[in-house]
Amino acid sequence: MSDHENDFSRRLFLKGAGATAGAGALSMLPIQMAFAAAFPEQNIQIFVPTRAGGGADRNMRAFTSVWKNHLKTNFEAGFYPGAAGRVGYETYMGKAKADCYNLIFGNMGPEVLNWVVKKPTFDLKSFLYIAQVDQDPGIIFVSRKNKKLKTIDDIVKEGKKRTLNVGVSRLAHPASLGVLALGRHTGAKFNLVPLSGGRNTRAGVATGEMDFGALPSGSVVRKQKQFDIVAVFDKTNPLPDRMKKAIVVNDHFGMKLPPLYAGARAFGIKREAIEKHPDRYKVLTDTLQKVYTDPAYKKAVIKTKAPWKYISYGSPADCEKYVEYISAIGQEYKSLLTGKS
């Protein structure tokens, strides 16, 4: 796909056709060839390995709507959903040029777990995450209409009597692993049912087909009227005001689970792009760091009803650490993720 275009997003960022035309005029000027050092001289392409309208899309839009002011260029998003993110990453690694004009925006948690299950066709070392955007813990939630299951204790108690069906986004997901670990620890029986994405998972829980669900908290905390969050897989409850009923799994059950950040969205890039264009890479990282402290970004995040508290910058080293850590957890539960024991 040479023309990686998703112009609606560019238009969205530009907010107006006039600006689109202006940017277009700029990008077509042949004179730009002479100023190779002036980065960026064209729009930045973002590959998103999930569907338009999902959590990553929302997150990416909020970030790039501010980053474009610092980087002084526009962003164009292309969505490549499929096979738990595999399609997006393979497309990015296979087709995107290593020129720092092409980035990927994904969710490190589930997507790295995916590589544990099946190795990608590209070398994992040829790619790295350059900035983590948010850190969103996995949670357990119930429908407010559920008369029986109101708290995590209700869930565990009921799970000891019968197997409970748990709606999850996908099997290879940190929140799913959290539920499984809880089941092992308490003896409650939980049956994970992957429903492909946050929206379907909420639907499964809301319609009562699932007994409860497990997702990143950001996906549920916006829907307080429909759902109660009853447990969180983190060191502490990060949002005591918005997740009043949520207990911290480790404290409540005396477990020693590492924090399971189910949402860990980050920008990634080909390593080759950094090696070939260190100057461009520096411009990218310098400008993106400014976004986190820009009040406009806080405003954009709050507008999406996502908790601002989850936004934090993670350096490439932080990202690498996270990838190693989540891969190790994945190895432990590999049989569950592949369906082969």
Binding site: F8, G82, R86, R199, A203, A206, E209, Q226
Partner: protein, 510 residues
Amino acid sequence: MEIDWGLFVELFARTFTFWWVILPAILLGLIVGAIPGFSAANTIIILLPMTLAMEPEIGLIFMVALYASSRMGAGIPAILVNIPGTAGAAATPLDGYPMTKQGRGQQALAISFVSSVFGGLLTTILALLAMPWLSQVAYHLHSVEMIVIMLFGISLIATIAAKDTLKGLIAGFFGLMIGYIGADVVYETPRGTFGFLELYDKVPLIPALVGLFAVSEAFAVIEGESILTKRGKEAMQKAGWAETWEGVRLAISRWWHIIWTSIIGLVIGVVPGAGAAIASFVAYQQSKTFSKTPELYGTGHLEGLVAPESANNGVTSGTLIPLLVIGVPGGATAAIMAVVLQYHGVAVGPDLFDSQPELAYGAFTAMAVTYALMILTVLPLARYMSKITVVSTTYMAPIIISFTLVGAFVPRAYVFDMYLALAFGVIGYVARKTGYHVAAILIGVILGPLLENYFLRALRISQGDIMVIFSSNLGNIMWVLLIISLFVPMYLDKRRKRLSKQAIPITTDC
């Protein structure tokens, strides 16, 4: 959720004042609905900058009007040139296109418009009034019940392949196998993808639709001067306003048919993820099952056109219910509407009826007003639109090929999808030339992944116990209904044949 009549009247009156938003949206919706690859969801995404700049109320009215009219737009090419604009209109050409070939394209369009508008209007008002009860549907139709609903749709394969059941079933099951290409929903294992990454997320519907219907049709029609039969061409040349009125009259004469098939659409639309394609297939199948003249279906039969068009517009109102009542969108378009509303700080869900009733109920009044305005704007166009069928195939075939192939490219921007459409074109061409029904293949491609999805989910829930499919009371009632709807027509058909043989002792060589 008490019904506040005063609020409704006020909302209707208010919505009418937004005619200047609704009319352009209708026009745009008709166009994008008619071109494969666009659809309301894609168009709303394309127009996001515009809708985001609008006031939430105006933005919502615009999106709803675009959505409703796109559904009707999709039926136009389905009837006139055998190319459904979206999967929701895939059952429309079954009887719509034969009518066109007979030179009754104008009547067919009028029938489609009237059925769509009355089906849409009726279900929108029903949705508005019965929301508290309808919203419960999603709580009862779980995976097991959805498996049976899917089978209702799939059983249409056998119905439309009545001439040669064996070949019909082969086409349908081949379609199902093609629909199974892609990663499975539980372990994300790629299957049957020929190594193409582009097929991991299942076979994309638009390229399949474009290839099976449009490309194959274009390659087939070049043998003739126009798509019309000789008599059809003569009829078309004489056609005037009277043909439009005939269509209106015919459609209105089937008012009861419009009512019950649109209600099928409404109920199926309420279930998140089900969609217009399944609703129109089920409505067509049921229409034929209960018909006194099932043998006429597929030959340009009035009820065969009324049923899918009423049903797919019934879905339009249905998909808004779960979005507004449980905060879960019923389909892709509703999901994107939710995103737009969210940008304005409007959280969709049950509290919307308390916090901003003008938006929650307004979505439905906007839809009702759209339908009311749509019939006035679109009906006079039937006469002119239908003239497209007299265009020579010399011009028509290349235009169909190029524009629908580009339409196949639009949703995902993969050039691969254009090649895929071409491959489906070859399959469709071979099917047409050798007496297989392309609609049967498409039903398989559309419903295969949905069926598998619900089936695997049910199996996962039951932890592998296949008997789960008979585990729900509602589901079991539906199974019985499915069996009745499959076997009663067969029995009636045999009886009819026996009786007619007794009446007219002619030996035929079948």
